[in-house]
Structures are given as structure tokens and as C-alpha cells.
């Protein structure tokens, strides 16, 4: 169990050391800058609420990768699925403006459906035509980004702008500040508890239900799963659809919980960062939450250092985290294999 924390611990250490070296090289006092950033990020109400706010789409995008990965499929199409979900949410919420929670619910479902359809399409290609999902989801990212951009500008944009009309407050996610004094004034909305509940629910689904069992079995040994009566089509298409739906929900978060409208490129790469989150969490839905919080804290700390260091530093450190994870994953596997090694005759 402790072994599973090794990559995260190494990643944090790398960030600290590498960050200190770079800040030092820029002629600043690394301890002071780092200490200030840490304080501003983790020890102030504003900093913490920002970390949780930024973690929301990361949790959803991390789950969007983790679920298909359980079935042995690598969904790198989060970015496109997120865009499809965001546009669907904006359109549906716009049509139903004034309907309040009904509109919000419908918009969330539309986002999940749109993202899910995008994911399912790649799953169908994989199952029927053998198109590798990494290829198809990467390509789908381009198609969906361009397609959503075209739909936006052709039909949905507010004249004179490059985004959809701003949505009225009644269809947006409820601000947590309105019910919880502690987070008053923060950007946190119901999308955060939604993401947390989904993470917990998926943890249960993957480890305690028949469907989750079948998903894990097909991920680990696809042929044995088929011989055990598990339908490969249901696993491939189902897990990709669910992954896409989760990324679509991240799109709904941007539209209904942050921006109030849909615009091109609004995610800023969260769909891709979700891959790093899922890898760090080793595809465990519950572990996606702390992994997403770590990445969100990193991003927020970078922002709070913006007056001292260039903002690209955060991108460098995020990249370093991914590299460390990539390097330590196999290490952990090897270590746990050695532990499991029993007499082999």
C-alpha cells in the first residue's frame, strides 16, 4: 500500500528540488519565494478554495482516463470530449434559460451525453475496426475542437464575440458560498461535490460491482474475459463512453461553474493534464482526487509566484511531475512484483 504512494512522494520531491534550483538560478531566494507560495496556496482561505476550484475539472478529466484505463484502454481524447460536453451544456442551458435547476440538470446530462458519444465512437472503432483508441481519440480531439469551433461561430456565438451568450445565473451551478459561510466569495460551486461524489461512486463501481469486475478482468486479460463470457464490445464501448461522459462533465464545469459561456480553447489543456492525474492515481478513482489536488496546488502556487518567476515555471514543473511518474510507475510495478514473487520452482 505504501509502495503506491512512492510515485507521488517522488513527484512532490522533484517539484520542490527542481523548483528551488530554477528559482535559485533566476537569482531569487528559493526558500523565501517557495515559502511564500506555499503559504499563499495552502494556508489562506483564498488559496485553498482556488486549489479545490482548479481541481474540479482535473478530477473529472482524471476519471475520464482512469475508467477506460481499467479496461486497458488509453483515452487521450479528454480535451475533445470536454469541448463537446461544454458546447452541449452551453446550448441546452441557453435554450432552457429561466428553468433553473431543471435547465442545469438537462445541461449536465447533455454534456455527459455529448462527451460520452465522442468516447463511445472511438470505442466502436476500436472494437469493430481495430482502430487503436490512442490514435482515434487524438484525431477526435482535432475533429471535435474544429467542429465545436465551427458550430460556435456559425450558429451559437454572441454577435461580436467568440463565445456563446452569457448564461443567466439561475441555470448555473450553485455557488457553495451561498450555502456554506466558510467558502463565501470563492468560485467553488456544486461541480466540486459532483466530482467528489463521482470519484467515490466510481471507486465503488470498479471494485464492488459485477460491471467493474468485468472491466478489470478485460483490462488485465482480454482473452480470458471473453472466454469467461464477458462481452468485449460492452467493455470497450462502455468504458470509453463513460470516460467521454466524465470529460464532458468537465466541460459542463467550465460553462456552468466558471465561465458562464462556451468558448474555444476554454479548458487550457485540462483534458491532457487528466492523463497525468490518472497515471499518478494508478487508475484508482479514489486516488484521482488527491492527485488532482496536487496538480491544482502546483498550478495555484505558480500563480502566486507570478511576480517573482515566469509562469512557464509551472509548466516545466508539471512536465517534470509527469516524467517522474512515467519513470516511477514501472519501478513500483517491479517492486510490487518482487514482493509478490513466490517460489516459482
Amino acid at each position: 500500500m505504501l509502495l503506491a504512494l512512492l510515485p507521488a512522494a517522488l513527484a512532490v520531491t522533484t517539484v520542490a528540488v527542481l523548483g528551488a534550483i530554477i528559482i535559485g538560478a533566476l537569482g531569487k531566494d528559493a526558500l523565501e519565494v517557495g515559502g511564500q507560495a506555499l503559504h499563499a496556496t495552502l494556508l489562506t482561505g483564498y488559496g485553498l478554495s482556488q486549489v479545490f476550484f482548479k481541481s474540479t475539472p482535473l478530477i473529472l478529466c482524471g476519471l475520464a482516463v482512469a475508467v477506460p484505463l481499467t479496461a486497458g484502454l488509453f483515452n487521450v481524447g479528454g480535451e475533445g470530449q470536454l469541448a463537446a460536453g461544454g458546447l452541449a451544456a452551453a446550448l441546452v442551458a441557453g435554450w432552457l434559460a429561466g428553468a433553473g435547476a431543471v435547465a442545469t440538470t438537462a445541461a449536465v446530462m447533455a454534456a455527459a451525453l455529448a462527451g460520452g458519444a465522442a468516447g463511445a465512437g472511438c470505442g466502436v472503432l476500436r472494437h469493430t475496426r481495430g482502430v487503436h483508441e490512442v490514435i482515434s481519440t487524438i484525431m477526435a480531439n482535432f475533429i471535435l475542437a474544429a467542429g465545436c469551433g465551427w458550430l460556435l461561430h456559425a450558429f451559437a456565438a454572441e454577435p461580436g464575440t467568440s463565445h456563446t451568450p452569457e448564461l443567466p445565473a439561475d441555470v448555473l451551478f450553485t455557488r457553495l458560498g451561498s450555502v456554506l459561510d466558510a467558502v463565501q466569495g470563492s468560485l467553488l460551486s456544486t461541480s466540486l461535490p459532483l466530482a467528489l461524489v463521482l470519484a467515490a461512486l466510481l471507486q465503488w463501481v470498479l471494485w464492488r460491482t459485477v460491471w467493474g469486475f468485468e472491466l478489470r478482468a478485460s483490462g488485465l486479460a482480454p482473452r480470458a474475459a471473453v472466454h469467461a463470457g464477458i462481452r468485449a464490445a460492452a467493455m470497450v464501448v462502455g468504458s470509453m463512453a463513460l470516460g467521454g461522459a466524465l470529460a464532458g462533465l468537465a466541460g459542463a464545469h467550465f460553462v456552468l461553474g466558471a465561465r458562464r459561456f462556451f468558448e474555444e480553447g476554454m479548458s487550457g489543456g485540462e483534458g491532457f493534464l487528466g492523463i497525468a492525474v490518472a497515471l499518478m492515481a494508478r487508475s484508482q478513482p479514489a486516488a484521482v482526487v488527491p492527485a488532482a489536488l496536487l496538480f491544482a496546488a502546483l498550478s495555484q502556487a505558480g500563480l502566486s509566484m507570478a511576480s517573482h518567476v515566469p509562469r512557464e515555471l509551472v509548466l516545466v514543473l508539471q512536465g517534470a511531475v509527469v516524467l517522474v511518474l512515467g519513470g516511477t510507475g514501472p519501478l513500483v510495478d517491479a517492486l510490487s512484483r518482487r514482493r509478490a514473487e513466490v517460489r516459482d520452482g
Binding site: R208, V210, G229, R339, V342, R343, D344
Partner: protein, 506 residues
């Protein structure tokens, strides 16, 4: 015997965590002798081999080469000390030629470049000297398994090996290739090399070795001269009790027909018919055997029957119900269970726990689950029952299946399928690669299932297994049944010709 052994292990011990793989194991390999190391899967044979070749460090004990203590930190040290190992899974570069593989790591050079002509000459000379027919210029990837193994042996000899360690060398060979290998080993022995053959196949031990060491649960339980022992005595030493693999014909009369196959045609991935009009019938309480050289449609027949591959035409009737188009799950739920031939790829999920594997395939119904939710208690109880009934070792359902020996993995697989409440069971190669103890238990389970009234279709490449278990034997040749015989009247000799297509119009 006063000659100093070329290689001697003195009281070697090695534990993996709480698991003692070798405990004070001693072994001496002498020049001009073939030494067989036998034991069940999990007895510690490979661990000993790995220690002798520097792949694993012993916890205690000494290794002597020519009577001098050595420390082997890596295979490089072992090779420098004159040891060579032929691994069960070959360590060859497919893209390189035979000669290039043989000299790999100690290439003859001329002016800074590899001297390919000399490499080929050296390889050809070694090959001629030991009777290992190979073409030094052939790319290794295209060679038959038996020839690749010769390249492995040449590689070891080229490195100057005076002691050869062979880990399960016959596991992947055909019968003819085995004979050729044994001849090579005899010649190497006569040249004065010391040879260790690790195996659990006793006929080969009897045929080729001069002396035998028997391991059981990590300890030496016997050191014998081959001439003074027998395969039966060795198997009893290995297992620790009397082993009976003799034929036990059925005592009941077969009842109603459970499985009927009519004109079944199954195509392979390339679209060619691999099963070409097979008809057969299996009744309750009988074992119907399918014999044949591998690759004559057995795999496709099994997949077509269990539903993993849909038949192109023909019918599969299960207890009167046409299931030709039914899914694997529907057939399973209707009482058709099967043990696929490749247990690690098709039968089990190696990374999952024994408990999870014990319910795979029946996980969607009680007691493993209810209403789509897994029931931990139900799974644990099923796993416990299986582990106990089939003597799965170690008896820990939480261990991943990958941590079990092949024989124990197969017990989990066969046990799971037989306890799923089937009416028809299809068994493909049920004892492939398992040791004699596990084989006996699996055979007993199959016969018990037959006596309990199950209909059993047994597909096996082992004729002795078919003869011991079946009531009727069909011979499959190029996707067709070309010969059918009452098992009581059949012999290994009588099945050979039809298996090779004798008397069949091509």
C-alpha cells in the same frame, strides 16, 4: 566417485519472503555425467538453477567450481567460471543470424569490425563437432523451436561452457525434437562436459540421465543412480505419495445425449475453414476424446463450441437446445463450461487474486454477486471451497494467480469450471505443463465428474492422457474427424497414422 566435481552446490538456501524455495540443497555435477534435477512445479528447481547461474544470490551455502568456492554475482561471472545456461525461454535476437547470435558478446574482430566470416566458421565448426545441425547464416527468427534451442546450446559452448544447465529444455519441443536433443546431450556428455537437465518429464530422465536429484518443497528428498531407479519410484519421490495415472474405465452406462455437434464449420482469423464439417455427440457420463497433431483445428473447434468464435455453419445443440449463435455467457448459463488450452491467456486473469479467478465466468450470478453487486463473502466462500477441494498451494485466495505454479494455476482453472454446475465440460489440454501430482489430481477430478454424470469433451495432445480418460476417441486431421475408435481398443501406435493423415484423401 573421487573426481572433483566441475560444479558443486553445498547446502544452498534461498527464501523469498516467508517462502523457502531452497533449503540446504546440495548437488554435484561431474564431467561426463548427465544429472537430472526433477521435482514438481514449485519444488525449487528453477531457483536452484538461477543460483547456480548467478541470477539469484543464495542466502546461505557455497558454490564450488573445480573445488574452489566462487561468488557468482551475475551470469557474466557464471560464464567466466565455465557455466552455460539454456533458458526455457530463449535469449536470442530474432533478427540476427545463427552465427551472430552464437558469438554475441564476444564477437571475433578484425580491424575494429566484426569478423563475420570467422564467426560463421567458428559456429559451423562447433556445430559439426557436437552434431548440432544448423545453418550459421540463417536468421534465428525463422527457425523452428528445436533449432533455436540448438543455437542456445552453441552459444553456451562458444562461451567455453564446461557445465551446461538446461531449464525445462523439452517443454517446448515436439517428440522428434526431443529425441534429437537427447542425442546432442549424450554427445556433449561423451565429450566430457557436465550437464544438468531440469525437468518434470520422467521418461526423458530415464532415457538420458546418469544420476537424479529429486527436490520436494525446496529440499533434496532423493539422490539416485538412474540405472537403479524407475519412473514410478521417481514420481512417488517427487509427489511424496503413490501416483496412479492408469486407465479407469467408466462403470456406468452413458445416459442421454448432452452435446450434439452437426456439420460444424469454424473459420480462422484468415477466413479459412479450420474446422470443416465436424459432427460428434457426447452423452452424460462419458468422456469423448479428440486426438490430433496440434494445429489441425482443435483450438477453433473448442472456440466454436464454447462461443468465443461464431461458427460459419453447422449446429451446436446443448441439452436439446440450439446454441449455435448463443454468446459465451448464454452457453455458460445453459451449462456448457470449458477449460481453454492457454490457461494464462484464455482461462485466468493472472494479475487478479485466486479468489477473483475462482468466480470468473460465474461472477454475474449467486453466490458471487447479487443484483450486479459483488458479494465478498460469497466469493471468499467459493474460493475457500475450491482451494480446499483441489489442494491449491499456497492455500491463500488473496494471492494473485500469477504467483502460483503452473500446476496450481491449472487446479484453479479446472476446479472453477467443474464446480460451476455444468452439464457439459470441454477440456482443452487440461494438464499441459503441469507436474505429475497436479496431473493426477486433475485426472481424478475429470473422472469424478464423468461418474457424476457430466458429459465431457477432452481435447489433448497427449495420447496417453486420452487413452487413460476417454471412452471414445475421434482423430482430428485438417479440421475433419478422420478416425473414430473405442478407447479401450486403441493404442498410441494405432492412433499415430490417422493423426498424420494416413488413409485420408488430401
Amino acid at each position: 566417485m573421487t573426481v572433483t566435481p566441475l560444479l558443486e552446490a553445498v547446502e544452498l538456501s534461498r527464501a523469498y519472503g516467508a517462502c523457502v524455495a531452497n533449503e540446504r540443497v546440495s548437488l554435484a555435477l561431474r564431467a561426463g555425467r548427465i544429472h537430472a534435477l526433477v521435482g514438481e512445479n514449485g519444488a525449487g528447481k528453477s531457483t536452484l538453477c538461477r543460483m547456480l547461474f548467478g541470477l539469484v544470490r543464495p542466502d546461505a551455502g557455497r558454490i564450488l567450481v573445480d573445488g574452489r568456492a566462487v561468488t557468482l554475482r551475475s551470469p557474466r561471472d557464471a560464464m567466466a567460471a565455465g557455466l552455460g545456461m539454456v533458458h526455457q525461454h530463449f535469449m536470442l535476437v530474432d533478427e540476427l543470424t545463427v552465427a551472430q547470435n552464437v558469438v554475441l558478446g564476444r564477437e571475433p574482430r578484425r580491424g575494429g569490425r566484426m569478423d563475420l566470416a570467422r564467426a560463421e566458421a567458428e559456429t559451423a565448426e562447433l556445430a559439426a563437432r557436437f552434431g548440432l545441425a544448423v545453418d550459421p547464416r540463417a536468421p534465428v527468427g525463422g527457425l523452428a523451436v528445436g533449432v533455436q534451442q540448438r543455437v542456445e546450446i552453441l552459444k553456451a559452448l562458444h562461451g567455453g561452457a564446461r557445465v551446461l544447465l538446461l531449464d525445462e529444455p523439452t517443454a517446448v519441443l515436439t517428440a522428434q525434437e526431443v529425441d534429437a536433443l537427447l542425442a546432442v546431450l549424450r554427445r556433449l556428455r561423451d565429450e566430457g562436459r557436465a550437464i544438468l537437465v531440469v525437468t518434470h518429464k520422467l521418461p526423458e530422465v530415464m532415457a538420458v540421465s546418469d544420476e537424479v536429484t529429486v527436490l520436494r518443497q525446496g529440499r533434496v528428498v532423493g539422490r539416485l543412480d538412474t540405472a537403479a531407479t524407475s519412473a514410478v519410484a521417481l514420481s512417488e519421490l517427487m509427489v511424496g505419495r503413490h501416483v496412479d495415472l492408469s486407465r479407469r474405465p467408466r462403470t456406468t452406462t452413458p445416459a442421454e445425449e448432452r452435446l450434439r455437434v452437426e456439420d460444424l464449420v469454424v473459420r480462422g482469423p484468415d477466413g479459412r475453414a479450420r474446422v470443416n464439417g465436424v459432427s460428434l455427440s457426447v452423452r452424460a457420463g462419458e468422456v469423448v476424446g479428440i486426438a490430433g497433431v496440434e494445429g489441425n483445428g482443435q483450438a477453433e473447434l473448442v472456440e466454436g463450441l464454447c462461443g468465443a468464435r461464431s461458427p460459419a455453419s453447422g449446429r451446436v445443440v446443448l441439452c436439446g437446445q440450439d446454441v449455435s449463435r448463443a454468446s459465451v455467457r448464454r452457453r455458460r448459463d445453459a451449462g456448457l463450461c470449458h477449460v481453454p488450452e492457454d490457461r494464462l491467456a484464455q482461462g485466468l486473469v493472472p494479475a487478479m487474486a485466486v479468489a477473483d479467478n475462482a468466480v470468473l465466468g460465474v461472477h454475474h450470478r449467486a453466490p458471487a454477486s447479487r443484483g450486479g453487486v459483488l458479494r465478498r463473502a460469497g466469493i471468499a466462500a467459493a474460493a475457500q471451497a475450491l482451494v480446499r477441494a483441489y489442494d491449491v498451494r499456497p492455500a491463500d485466495p488473496a494471492l494473485p494467480v500469477a504467483a502460483l505454479s503452473g500446476g496450481n494455476q491449472q487446479k484453479v482453472l479446472v476446479g472453477r469450471e467443474l464446480s460451476a454446475g455444468p452439464r457439459v465440460v470441454i477440456l482443452a489440454q487440461p494438464t499441459r505443463g503441469v507436474d505429475v501430482g497436479a496431473m493426477e489430481r486433475i485426472h481424478a477430478a475429470i473422472l469424478a465428474a464423468r461418474d457424476a454424470g457430466l458429459a465431457i469433451l477432452l481435447v489433448s495432445a497427449e495420447l496417453t492422457e486420452l487413452l487413460a480418460l476417454s471412452d471414445v476417441i475421434h482423430v482430428l486431421y485438417r479440421g475433419r474427424i478422420v478416425h473414430t475408435v473405442d478407447a479401450a481398443a486403441a493404442t498410441v501406435e494405432s492412433l499415430g497414422p490417422p493423426m498424420l493423415g494416413a488413409g485420408v484423401a488430401a
